[in-house]
Structure formats: C-alpha cells, structure tokens
C-alpha cells in the first residue's frame, strides 16, 4: 500500500483478511471501481451486492467494505442504517414482505398481516425459529391492482384473503423441505 513505513504497516495482512470475508464478485466490483472517478459513490451498489450474497449485512461485512473501498466505517454504517432495504440481521430462507401501501391498506392488508403473524408466531422484523420465514413489511411493491399483496422472495401473491395464508405458507414449507432433502441427498455421506 504505502512505500514509506514498512515497519508498522500491516495493511497487506489486513487486506488479505478483509478480502477473505467477501465473495469474489464483490471484490472484483470494488477493484474495478477503485480507479474510477467518484468511486465512493458505488458504496450503495456494493452494499446491494454484499446483501445479495449473504442475505444481510453483518458487522464484519461493513468493516470489510469500508476498508477495501477506503471509506470511513462510520459512513458505511450510516448508509447501511439509513436505507430500509439494507438488513443488519440474518433472515430466513424466505423473506415475506407484506405490502402496507395505500391500495393494499384500504383493501385489508392489515388483516392479512395479522394472520401472518399469528400463523408464523413472529412479529415484523423477526425470523421464525426454523429459519425458514422472515416477516417484514414494505411500502408498495407497485402491483396495486392486485391488492392486497404479499411478496415472498421474488414472487408476488395477490389478491390475498387471510384464509389463504395457511395454504400459501404450506407451499413454501414444502418447497423448503424439498430443497433440504435435495441438499442432504447430494452431500457425500
């Protein structure tokens, strides 16, 4: 890194450690942007990539991004906490986002949300004990014509009534079970 102070500079060692914490595509992205003008403006895009890979932004991830992008950790934390889209806690396999936008609200989204909290036994912002579902609310996914809607992963479901919730969740539970079976089957014994 610096040519002057070999004695105390442990940057190379640190950098190796930080690089080990992030996946290759994120590292390539950071490296590609470093030389560009206004490279610090890619912070949000970088955090999107990290969250896309890990599902959330852990303290270690934030520090690694800060160090490798050469942006103060305070700023990285500030940005990560300012935007709702970034999650600092790990989440379940399926993220359930209940739309609480206006159109969904007037069409009874609250009742759907109520049913979801009952069925899952968790509140907003929490993850079920089996690690399969996380429940969150969102402001409008832009499919108001189907209100009230719930987004599970990347899939939008609507219009929903509270009575449809159990079947909907069962479908995802079955899918999760299948995935786990497939995973354990493919692993060497």
């Amino acid at each position: 890194m610096s040519d002057c102070c070999h004695g105390t500079d442990n940057w190379e060692e640190l950098e190796r450690g930080y690089r080990a914490m992030l996946p290759a595509d994120v590292l390539a992205f950071i490296d590609a942007n470093r030389a560009k003008e206004h490279s610090e403006s890619m912070l949000i895009a970088t955090l999107h990539m990290v969250q896309g890979h890990f599902g959330h932004l852990g303290p270690g991830h934030l520090e690694a991004v800060a160090q490798l992008m050469q942006v103060p950790l305070a700023k990285v934390t500030g940005v990560a906490t300012f935007y709702h889209y970034f999650r600092l806690q790990p989440r379940g396999r399926y993220l359930i986002n209940v739309c609480l936008g206006t159109a969904c609200y007037v069409k009874g989204a609250e009742k759907v949300a109520q049913k979801l909290t009952e069925e899952l036994g968790i509140h907003f912002g929490e993850t079920s004990k089996d690690g399969i579902f996380s429940l969150e609310s969102t402001r409008c996914v832009g499919t108001c014509g189907l209100a009230p809607v719930v987004m599970i992963g990347d899939e939008v479901h609507g219009p929903l009534s509270p009575s449809q919730i159990p079947t909907l969740l069962e479908g995802y539970l079955a899918r999760a079970a299948e995935d786990m079976m497939a995973n354990s089957a493919s692993e060497p014994k």
Binding site: H48, R139, G142, V149, V156
Partner: protein, 726 residues
C-alpha cells in the same frame, strides 16, 4: 464520421424492418402475453409456457407467441391477446392454464372465440369490422353526431351489428395533426386505417367502399397516423382503454420491451435522429416549452425552462438524471413504463443529455423493481451495441453514456437533492435549495432531474411538435398524465388521460365506479404528499393548479379511490405514519412535527381525542408545512389538512361522540349479535380466535364484550347477517 445521423437512422430502421419482415408477423397468428411484474404475479409466465407447450404439440409454424409489456389493466391480469390476420384482435382476461387450452383449441384452431372470457365482454358475438369514432371532448369534434348517423346508415342498409359495429372512443391524439380543425377521425379495424370524415357523403363512401367492397377509401384517409395507432388497433374495443389517450404509454402492451427492432419499427429513435441532425438544442427546448410539458414527478415545473437553465451554465460538466424512485404507495406508472417501454425512456434521456450538454446520465431506480432494472440495463446494453449510446452517437459526434444507480428503500430519495446525495453514495438527506440542482447538483455540477414519465413524453413531442402536445392538454399544462388507479374502484390499473379531464370521468367512466356498489367518499391524489378530494368535487378538472387549490397535489399520479367504508381519520393516520417513518430526521419540524401529528391522530382513532386536538393538528400541520427543509416535510401534513378541511365532521364524531362513522376504527366499534336473525349455526363461535362467543346450538349466540378483540371474524363469516357492527 462514417455516417450522418439521418443515414444512421435509415440504416437502423431498415435493419429493424428487415428483421421484422423475416418474422413475417402480419401473416401469422399472434398470441400476445404480457410480461411485467404485475403480470408475472398474476401468473403470465405459466400461461406463456402453457401456450408454448400447446404450440409445440400442434406443430404449427404460423403461430407466434409475442411478449409485450403491461397494458395497465391490473385487476384482469393475466391478459392474453389473440390476433388472427384479417380479424379484430381479441383479448382474454384472467387467463389460466385451463383457459389456455380452450383458447388454443377453440379460438386458434377452430376459429370460435371463447366469448365468456373476453376482456370486459358483454357476451355478444364479435363483429367482423369495427369503426371507432374519435369523440374527444377537447377538440369538440363532431364525432358523436357522425357516429349516430353512421349507425343509422348501417341500419337502413340492413348491415347487422355483428358485421359492422360503430364504437365511440376518446381523443386519438390526432386532432393536433389536423391543426385543430373540426374533423372526426374514424379508425377502421381490423384494417387499421384512419379516416377523416366530415359529412354524410363521407360516411356513405365509407360504407360503400370500405364495408361493401372491402377496399380502402383513399380520398378520406388521414394524412398522418396518430401516435397511439397500434395501441388503439389492439385494445380499442375495450372501453377501459379507448377512453384513454395514450402518449407516454403508447407502446405499453404493444412492443416487446426487450426488442430494439420493434421499438424502432414503431418510429423509435426517430426523434433522436432529428435532434442529432438539427444539432440545435434550442429547438428542442423551444418545442418542449411550446408543448407546455410540466414535470410529471409532481412538482409541475416546466421541463423546457429546467433544461434551458442547465444549458446556460458556465460549467461544461453536466449530468442528467431519470428519477425512477417511485416511492409513493399506490403509484406504479413509472415501473410500468420502465418495464414495458424501456427504449422510449432511454431515448428521452439521450435527447435530454444532448439538449443540456451532458456527458453522462443516471437512472435512479428503486431496488424493489428488479424487472425494471433488468429491462433498462438490457436497453442500455443494446443501445451501446448499436451505436445509440457511448461515443459518437448515430455518427453525430455526440458522446453520452447512461448508468443505473439503485435506490435502497428510502422514500425521501425521490426528493431531488436527496436523490443526488444517494447517487453520490451518501445517506439520502436533502439539502437546502437554492442552489438548485440545475446550478449545482451531482458532484457540484449542473444537473437536470426529471421523472420517468416526463422522459417518456419527450420523443412523442419532438415527433409530433410541441403545438400538437399543447393542444391535447389545458391552457397551463400540455399533454396527458398517467394515473395509477387503485383502491375501492372496479377497474384498477393505469389510466392515461389528457390533463383537464374530470376526476369523475377517470374514476367512474374509465375506472367503472366504486367497487361493490358502494358510494364514493373521496379520491386521494398525490400519495402521502397529497390530499383528499371529496366526492362532491369530483367534477373538478385534473391539472396542477386546481388540485393544489383543493388542498391536494398532482404528485406522481397515484389515485386512490375511497368509499363510504373508509374512515378519513384512519386514512390520514395511515399517510402520516408513512411520512413519519420516512422522514429522514435531518430537520426538526419534519422529524418532530410528523411524530406529534401522528400521536394526536392515533389518540383520536383510539377514542381518546380531546376537543383541542383539532386546533392543535391544524397549527402543527401549518408549522410543519412552512418550516420544513424539503418537500417531504412540507407536503406531509397535506392529508391531515385536507381531511380536516373536507371531512371535519368525521374528526368531530371521533372526538366528541367517540364514534367512527365508517365503522373502521377498532377502538370505537363493537360487534353485537342480532338475536332475531341468529339461527345458532355456531359458525361465529367456531371462528372466534378468543372464544368469546357463547350460545347453544340453534339458539341465539352472545358476544362477551369484555373479551372481544374486535377482529371482525364473526362479522365476515356469518351467513345470515346476524352480526351488527355498531
């Protein structure tokens, strides 16, 4: 330079035409399936797969599945269009796998449309031909009168309605082309010929020539085609669509959003070619000014003036930004435009970049719109490969590049200074204006920020002239506005109408009125920054100024219909909760103001309101409005102020009588069982989550009010309306 811009465009258009000619779509049966976030959610991908399977099984090569964007008819999705050459296109609603089978075997293979499932269909047989009369109210054309006479002529000649039908449609946007001269335009389908008629003789000529002899009456053919011809041709028979005037959304549901060739075939990039040929940004700006195009993001600032301001700056490093941070709950037109017609937005951005002298442009799109991001990225990549972006665009010597930056779920980033901060990689907190972004914006350089819909209009204006666009709107604002119609309305979806159209026309005629036969209470426009327009004012013309006068705003165009079942205090509280949560916290009036206003509203809906609350709400709201730093705080109290203004009695009922007139506020209602109606079926008791309903079989049940949590389950499940909400 290898090619000049006109040559470049010609070769691009030729290539596109050749590609499309190879596909020979005119002589094939087209199965059109929508592909956008909402269509996917409704199951359009499974429908497309099912059609593909049927297609393979049939072994026919004269059938093509055509992907398009979304038409904006959300509540009926997935929508499938079937176009058989020489026949009027047919649209099916709510298509599922079973229906795919029926459509394929009955309609495509046996030529008998599945009448019952046709979009908005009344069940009558489909006509062979249709003549659509433009009856736009703007130009006061003689359309309606001519249509009646045409109908009479058909009857006297014994031509049955299933042979030829005469239909009424809204403004084609063609009136501007006739320089405002009174003339009725008639679109003949399925031949897709636009006629201009004025007299009875013309009508007779149409019947004798077009209907009886089956030839185009050249004498009456309109000189220029209207902008939304393709759209009208495909969707013109559906009232929801033909009452609209589509400019910004002209290609939505018509072109394949991922095909440059199709966009170019519908005159895409023609406007850009003209701009780069003329090399005269002042011409562009003067056309936009003549068009009276105003910012569609809600502010309503004249686009021409904004571009002129950035252009005259001394600093030569300039940026242009497309604001796709559509955060208003209840608005989804930007998403639809980005997903359904991405090349059009890209073209608008390039023209804007050229006009203000920018080298680089940014799309700022919400991370919640993955498909929109994907489509725009694809459009940018394709444009780069085809010399429409990057260095030396169209051989004109103009260098310009586009990049996408993602939002991350902060509503305040829709505010332009906050958006700039977010692109810079900072927390999206607004700055004091002035300096305005046109003076010092992104990284301190002059920056123009426009909404997606504003950019969607640019190419249309430059192709058809500013004067044409201005004639479609009102005296102060030209053109059309797209509204996202949602809430308690029968037909939800995207509605594009000329500015100056009445609210009632949008909600009742296009939207089909309030769903469930309920009475209209209010129309909310502008999202959390807007206000309520009471039903009594529904004849108001939609434009920036009248809405503002009524205490609301145009905003980005969300339009939520509220019925008698909605409590205005509750909805005001909903919006305030939104603004409070989204307040960035930088300035005190907004951070504290929204919190305290919300507290008071919560108290009122809990039945704990005190008489002073109304005055307090009013004072706090005015303070927040006057002293907040940015638009979020200044507009946040609008829902409260407008509901106080128009629905004062509801606040009074909550505070003084502890009564919620709409029976919505849980703390102020209770459920009772009407002993005379109750037959003792026990369904309510079985569905009560807290088991507070008691009673023997076949005897009237009773609710224990102390234990009741007022969830309303019993009310919903009772089949004998024996439960009253009081």
């Amino acid at each position: 330079m290898s090619l000049s811009a006109p040559d470049f465009y010609r070769s691009l258009a030729d290539r596109a035409a050749a590609t499309l000619a190879d596909r020979d779509l005119d002589r094939k049966i087209l199965i059109q399936v929508g592909s956008a976030t909402c269509e996917h959610a409704a199951g359009s991908q499974a429908v497309a797969e099912e059609f593909a399977r049927h297609l393979r099984a049939s072994g026919r090569n004269d059938i093509v599945i055509h992907r398009t964007g979304c038409t904006g008819r959300c509540s009926r999705e997935p929508i499938v269009g079937i176009q058989v050459p020489g026949q009027i296109p047919v649209k099916y609603e709510r298509v599922n796998r079973d229906l795919v089978h029926r459509i394929f075997t009955e309609h495509i293979q046996s030529q008998t449309p599945v009448l019952k499932h046709i979009l908005d269909h009344t069940g009558e047989a489909l006509p062979e031909r249709e003549f659509m009369f433009c009856e736009g109210s703007r130009c006061k054309g003689p359309g309606a009168g001519l249509r009646e006479r045409f109908q009479a002529l058909l009857e006297t000649r014994g031509i049955a309605p299933q042979k030829v039908r005469a239909a009424a449609a809204s403004c084609f946007g063609a009136c501007g082309l006739s320089e405002g001269a009174p003339a009725a335009f008639v679109l003949a389908r399925p031949e897709k010929v636009l006629y201009q008629v004025a007299t009875e003789e013309d009508l007779v000529a149409l019947i004798e020539g077009h209907v009886l002899e089956g030839r185009v009456v050249e004498r009456l053919k309109a000189k220029q085609e209207p902008i939304a011809l393709e759209f009208l041709e495909r969707y013109g028979d559906v009232a929801f669509f033909n009452r609209q005037s589509r400019i910004a959304l002209r290609n939505a549901g018509v072109v394949d959003p991922e095909s440059l060739e199709e966009y170019v075939a519908y005159d895409g990039f023609k406007a850009l070619a003209e701009v780069l040929t003329r090399q005269d940004p002042d011409w562009v700006i003067s056309e936009l000014t003549k068009a009276r195009l105003r910012g569609r993001g809600g502010g309503g600032f004249t686009t021409g003036a904004k571009w002129a301001m950035a252009r005259k700056q001394a600093d030569a490093t300039r940026y242009i930004i497309c604001n796709g941070d559509e955060g208003d709950p209840g608005a989804f037109m930007d998403r639809s435009m980005l997903e359904s017609d991405p090349f059009n937005i890209v073209e608008g951005m390039i023209i804007g970049g050229h006009s203000i002298g920018a080298q680089k442009g940014f799309f700022y799109i919400r991370a919640e719109y993955p498909l929109a991001i994907k489509r725009i990225q694809m459009a940018i990549d394709i444009c780069k490969q085809n010399g429409l972006l990057g260095a030396d665009i169209m051989g004109s010597g103009f260098d310009f590049d586009l990049e996408i930056r993602l939002g991350a779920g902060a509503f305040v980033c829709g505010e332009e200074t906050a958006l700039i901060r977010s692109i810079e990689g900072e927390r999206g907190q607004p700055k004091v204006r002035p300096p305005y972004p046109t003076d010092r914006g992104l990284w301190g350089h002059p920056t123009v920020i426009n909404n997606v819909e504003t950019f969607a209009n640019i190419s249309a204006i430059l192709r058809f002239s500013g004067g044409w666009y201005a004639r479609i709107g009102t005296e102060k604002s030209g053109g059309t506005k797209v509204f996202a119609l949602a809430g308690k309305v029968k037909h939800t979806g995207l509605v594009e109408v000329p500015l100056g159209t009445t609210l009632s026309r949008v909600v009742n005629e296009i939207g089909g009125g309030v769903s469930g036969g309920k009475a209209l209470k209010a129309i909310q426009t502008g999202g959390p920054a807007g206000g309520f327009i009471p039903a009594s004012m529904q004849d108001m013309e939609v434009d920036f100024e009248p809405l503002q006068k009524a205490g609301s705003i145009m905003g980005s165009g969300g339009m939520i219909v509220l019925s008698e079942d909605d409590c205005m205090v509750d909805i005001a509280k909903f919006y305030m909760a939104f603004s409070q949560e989204e307040s960035c916290g930088k300035c005190t009036p907004c951070r504290e103001g929204t919190t305290r206003i919300l507290e008071i509203l919560e108290r009122i809906t809990q039945g704990e309101g005190v008489p002073e609350d109304m005055d307090k709400l009013h004072r706090l709201s005015r303070l927040c409005q006057r002293t907040s730093l940015c638009g979020l705080g200044r507009a946040a109290p609008n829902p409260v102020l407008s509901s106080l203004k128009h629905f004062r009695d509801e606040f009074e009922a909550h505070i003084h009588d502890k009564h919620c007139p709409a029976k919505k506020c849980v703390a102020l209602i209770r459920y009772e069982i009407n002993a005379e109606k109750c037959i003792g079926c026990t369904i309510c008791a079985r569905n009560c989550p807290v088991e507070c309903i008691s009673g023997a079989r076949k005897e009237a049940h009773v609710i224990n009010q102390d234990a009741c949590i007022k969830c309303g389950n019993c009310f919903d499940v009772c089949k004998f309306t024996a439960i009253d909400r009081v």
